[in-house]
Structures are given as structure tokens and as C-alpha cells.
């Protein structure tokens, strides 16, 4: 019941997270090639030595490419995300240190705006991301202080660009978290709805089943009761008594079926016994062994033989039902003389033995396997 709906919830979350990761990869690659590369080419002279700028940019491209491959393969960085994030930060510091102090915070300082996106890429946990962004900004601020660029203009410009870029990155991460929460809630709502639907279906099936049983009962018991009330079916009439006994037995069977999982053979046998008991016949019943459930035709023959034998009983009867390896055996011993027996199902045999005024009828279902 929860399996299908659970899959929906998980599926939603996975689809959403995947969309976010793809978007983030695209943003990082667009920044690296569309923004950083032109700035780097134009400002390459600011790096000392010059190749450090390109080398650092190359490392960042490799990380972004590796992430794109992981996204395509439905994999994540797992534990390796922290060393990689530290490496990215080291690259940023190295590139910034190689930069001429005058260029810090300017267009050639490409890592200042882009490194934060690597944080978003690598660190899905909010706390890790915030720590990463803060550490990067503090390092850059420290560098500015170290090279002596503590004039108000520089610090304000640094502050503006830092806040501007970082707030973008944080907004992206917060939006991701919010969307994940929405997805989880939507999934839960879908689960609850599915559970409610299943419960409704189940209740409908149970109701239909019960309706069918009571319809059968109404067809048998109601006309009888109406007849008795109207006087057309006098309770003294033996035929009415038989019909009432039969209806009562069926009623009891319906109640019994709701209570326990008795097999149909034992249940119908109980009905036959009940009818005999209603005639005043004392019936002793025993059940033994583990039984297979015979097919309908075999069951009809077994019960037919038992019913005829019980019908002949005058004062007492013994009914036994046994399951032995390869057979189900139904026995009736009666003090009456039953009429002949015939079984029509191919694997049912009926035998009768008479001695000293009692007759023992045995019906045996032994399927050929």
C-alpha cells in the first residue's frame, strides 16, 4: 500500500534535486567560460607568473566537468566533497595571491565571484555551504589587509561585490532547500491520498462481499419468516422445520466465516450436522490431520454421501473428517440404513459397510498426482 506512494514521494524529491544540480552545473560552466575566461584573457598580465591564472582556471574547469559527469551518471560527490571543496578554496587563494595587489577585487580577480558557486555545487548541506562562503570571504579580506589595501573605497567595493555574489549563491541554496521541503510534503500528501484510496477500495470489496452473503440469506430466511408470520408456513410442518433448520445453519455459517478461516468442506459438513441435530439426532464429530481442499466436484460427492448417510440416521451418528497423506476421508456411522451411493467425480470413492444395525459410510477423495 505504501510502496507505490512512497516511490512517488522519493521520485519527486529525486527529480527536483536532479533539476537543481543540473541548473547549478550549467551556471558554473557558464560563469567559467562566459565570464571568467574573457576576464582572464583580458587581465592575464595582472597574474605573476601569468600561467597561474590559466592553470587555476583549468583546475576549476576540471572540477566543474567532473561534477557534470557525476550528474549525468546520477552519482554524487559523497565524502570526497570536503577535500575537493578545500582544494577549490586553495586554488582561489593561490590565484588571488598571484594577482597584483591592485587587481584584487577587480575584473581579473575571477575567483572572487565564481568560487562560491563551487560551494553550492559541492556542498548540499546549508551549514557547510555557509562556512565555505564565509571562509572564502574572510581569506580574501585577509589578503586585502595583508597587501595593505585597507582604504575605504576598496573595502566598500569588496563588500558590495561580496554581498551581491554571495547572496545570489545563498538564495539558490535556500530555494533548493525550500523546494525539497515542498517536494517531501507533496510526496507525503500523495502517500496519504493513496492510502485513503486503498482503504476505500478495501471497504468497498468487503461491503460487496457482505451484501452478496446477506442477499443469499434474505432470499432464504425472509420468505420463511414472512410465511410464519402470515400463517402460510406453520412451524409444526416438518418441511417448514427443515427449511428453518437449513436457513439457521446457513446463518451460523455466515457468522462463522466472518470469525474463523474454516475450510469450506468442514463448514458445509457442519451445516449438514446441524440439520441432523435439528431432527434430534445426536452427532459426534471429530476432525484429524492436515487436509488439502478438494475441488468443487469432489467436495460435492463427499458431502453428498455424508448428507445421505446423515439423513438416514435415526438417533445417533458419528462423523469424522481426516486428512492423511494423499487423501481426505469423510466417514459417517449411522444407526439407520442409507440408500445406495454413487460418486461422479473421478477420484472420489464411496464404500459402505453394515454390521449389527449400524452402517459405516466412507467417502474418500484421493487425487491421482
Amino acid at each position: 500500500m505504501t510502496g507505490g506512494a512512497g516511490a512517488t514521494s522519493v521520485e519527486l524529491t529525486v527529480r527536483l534535486q536532479r533539476g537543481l544540480r543540473v541548473a547549478c552545473s550549467v551556471i558554473v560552466l557558464a560563469i567559467l567560460f562566459g565570464l571568467n575566461l574573457p576576464n582572464l584573457v583580458a587581465g592575464r598580465a595582472a597574474y605573476e607568473p601569468e600561467w597561474v591564472g590559466f592553470a587555476g582556471w583549468g583546475v576549476l574547469v576540471v572540477v566543474a566537468a567532473a561534477d557534470a559527469v557525476l550528474v549525468a551518471r546520477h552519482r554524487s560527490w559523497e565524502w570526497i566533497r570536503l577535500p575537493v571543496a578545500a582544494g577549490v578554496l586553495a586554488v582561489a587563494v593561490e590565484m588571488s595571491v598571484a594577482l597584483a595587489p591592485a587587481a584584487l577585487g577587480g575584473p581579473p580577480h575571477v575567483t572572487l565571484g565564481s568560487i562560491g558557486w563551487f560551494g553550492v555545487l559541492l556542498l548540499p548541506r546549508g551549514r557547510e555551504l555557509v562556512a565555505f562562503l564565509l571562509l572564502h570571504l574572510l581569506l580574501m579580506l585577509g589578503l586585502l589587509v595583508a597587501v595593505g589595501r585597507t582604504d575605504q573605497l576598496t573595502l566598500v567595493a569588496f563588500g558590495i561585490s561580496a554581498v551581491g555574489v554571495t547572496s545570489f549563491q545563498l538564495a539558490f541554496a535556500i530555494a533548493g532547500t525550500a523546494l525539497r521541503t515542498v517536494a517531501r510534503q507533496a510526496g507525503q500528501a500523495a502517500e496519504e491520498e493513496a492510502a485513503a484510496r486503498t482503504a476505500e477500495d478495501l471497504a468497498a470489496v468487503v461491503h460487496t462481499d457482505r451484501e452478496a452473503r446477506y442477499a443469499e440469506l434474505r432470499a432464504v430466511a425472509l420468505p420463511l419468516l414472512e410465511g410464519m408470520a402470515a400463517g402460510t408456513a406453520p412451524p409444526a410442518d416438518p418441511a417448514v422445520q427443515r427449511a428453518a433448520a437449513s436457513a439457521a445453519a446457513r446463518l451460523r455459517r455466515i457468522f462463522a466465516e466472518e470469525r474463523d478461516g474454516r475450510d469450506p468442506l468442514a463448514a458445509e459438513l457442519a451445516e449438514l450436522i446441524d440439520i441432523a441435530e435439528r431432527r434430534g439426532v445426536g452427532v459426534q464429530y471429530s476432525e484429524r490431520g492436515e487436509r488439502a481442499v478438494p475441488p468443487r466436484a469432489a467436495m460435492r460427492d463427499l458431502l453428498g454421501a455424508a448428507g445421505d448417510a446423515l439423513h438416514a440416521a435415526r438417533g445417533s451418528a458419528r462423523v469424522t473428517l481426516a486428512g492423511v497423506p494423499g487423501a481426505v476421508v469423510l466417514g459417517v456411522v449411522t444407526d439407520g440404513v442409507p440408500a445406495g451411493f454413487a460418486a461422479s467425480a473421478p477420484d472420489v470413492g464411496v464404500s459402505a459397510v453394515e454390521a449389527g444395525g449400524t452402517t459405516w459410510v466412507e467417502a474418500r477423495w484421493a487425487p491421482r498426482s
Binding site: Q284, S286, R288, G289, E290, R318, T320, A322, G323, V324, V329, G331, V333, S351, V353, A355, G356, T358, W360, E362
Partner: protein, 209 residues
């Protein structure tokens, strides 16, 4: 000297009923009641034991202690299921009767028990014939069929007629199965006595066991 028994049953009507049957059959009831202590302390030839002493679990533990104390026990119980019957045999009860079988089988069962002879009422026979446990004693096809017929018909005469055997031969088949059960599982002096007596009577021979 007449036979003496102790009745352990928590139902006064059952105690009175069994007492009346015994009186008519010349069996002396030396103690009776819900308390099993006299069954251990008062000397008697056999104990008629109700497995259900009050609400709760059947008193298999008391049965086991009685058997270990060397008492011959006829279990007389309202439990009609095979499992309970077979477990009592395993513990060393001489025989097992359901209360529905009492009027016909209890007195013969007590007599057989006192002589260490097997007595298998039909319901117990059914339990052995349809025993589904994998470690049950191996029965021959004929033994199983005769036992099943005994369960079904409750008449050795009908069984004999059905299989074209004498009543005595039917008896032998039924007794043999009981001895096979006595020879299986947990050892008990009562079981050993049953097997020894069956060997003496020629019901079974050592090679068959």
C-alpha cells in the same frame, strides 16, 4: 485384589460421573479432586487425569511429573485436538481419551492401563493415523488404514468386515501402532512397561521395533 484409582479433575460433576462408572465396574476410587497431590502420595493402580486444571495452559508439567513418579496415567480431557493427544503420549501417558468418549472407553482404558496393555480409543487412533509430524513413528500402509478406519467407524467389527480381517487381527494392528509410539521419543518407565508387556503378549517382536 481390586483395582484402585485416583481421579484428578477440577469439575465435581466429572469426578462424580467417573466415580459412578468405576463403582459399577468394581474399581475403587481412593482419592479424587482438583488437587494433583494425592495422585503422587496415595498408592493406587492408576490416575485418571484431567489435563485442564482450571483456566490457562493444560497441565503438561503435572502429567510429566506423574509419569516420572512412575504413575500410570489415563488422560481424560476435553481437548479434542491431535496435538494435545500426541504430546500426552510422548510424555508417557498410558492413553488419551476425550471426554466425549468416556462413557464407552474409560473403564476399558483403566483396566488395560493397570495391566500395562495398550488401549487406543478412536480419537487417539485418528491422531496417530493422521499424525503430520515429520518425526512420527513409521506405520505400514495397512496399519494406517486400519487405524483410520477405527477412528472413522468406532467399531472394530466394522473395521474387520471392511478389510476382511478378524476382530483380533484389527486389535493387533491398533495395538502395534500404540507400541511404536511408546517406543519413540522421551523414555519413561510406563512406556517401557507397555513395550515389555507387548513383547510378552507376542503383539510385537523385537525385530519389528
Amino acid at each position: 485384589m481390586g483395582t484402585s484409582i485416583v481421579i484428578v479433575d477440577d469439575h465435581p460433576a466429572i469426578v462424580d460421573g467417573v466415580g459412578a462408572w468405576c463403582a459399577r465396574a468394581g474399581i475403587t476410587v481412593v482419592a479424587a479432586g482438583a488437587d494433583p497431590a494425592p495422585a503422587f502420595d496415595v498408592p493406587a493402580d492408576a490416575v485418571v487425569f484431567d489435563l485442564q486444571l482450571g483456566p490457562g495452559e493444560p497441565a503438561f508439567d503435572v502429567l510429566e511429573e506423574l509419569v516420572d513418579a512412575g504413575r500410570r496415567v489415563v488422560v481424560y480431557s476435553q481437548h479434542a485436538d491431535s496435538e494435545t493427544a500426541l504430546r500426552c503420549l510422548e510424555l508417557g501417558a498410558a492413553t488419551y481419551l476425550t471426554k466425549a468418549e468416556g462413557h464407552e472407553h474409560l473403564i476399558p482404558a483403566i483396566r488395560a492401563c493397570v495391566e500395562d496393555r495398550p488401549y487406543t480409543p478412536p480419537v487417539l487412533g485418528g491422531a496417530m493415523a493422521a499424525d503430520p509430524r515429520p518425526d512420527r513413528p513409521a506405520l505400514s500402509e495397512r496399519e494406517r488404514e486400519v487405524l483410520l478406519a477405527w477412528f472413522s467407524s468406532d467399531s472394530k467389527q466394522l473395521v474387520a468386515q471392511r478389510f476382511h480381517l478378524s476382530v483380533k487381527t484389527v486389535d493387533t494392528y491398533i495395538a502395534r501402532v500404540r507400541i511404536k509410539y511408546a517406543d519413540a521419543g522421551r523414555p519413561a518407565t510406563t512406556k517401557a512397561a507397555l513395550v515389555a508387556r507387548a513383547l510378552q503378549d507376542g503383539l510385537v517382536d523385537l525385530a519389528r521395533l
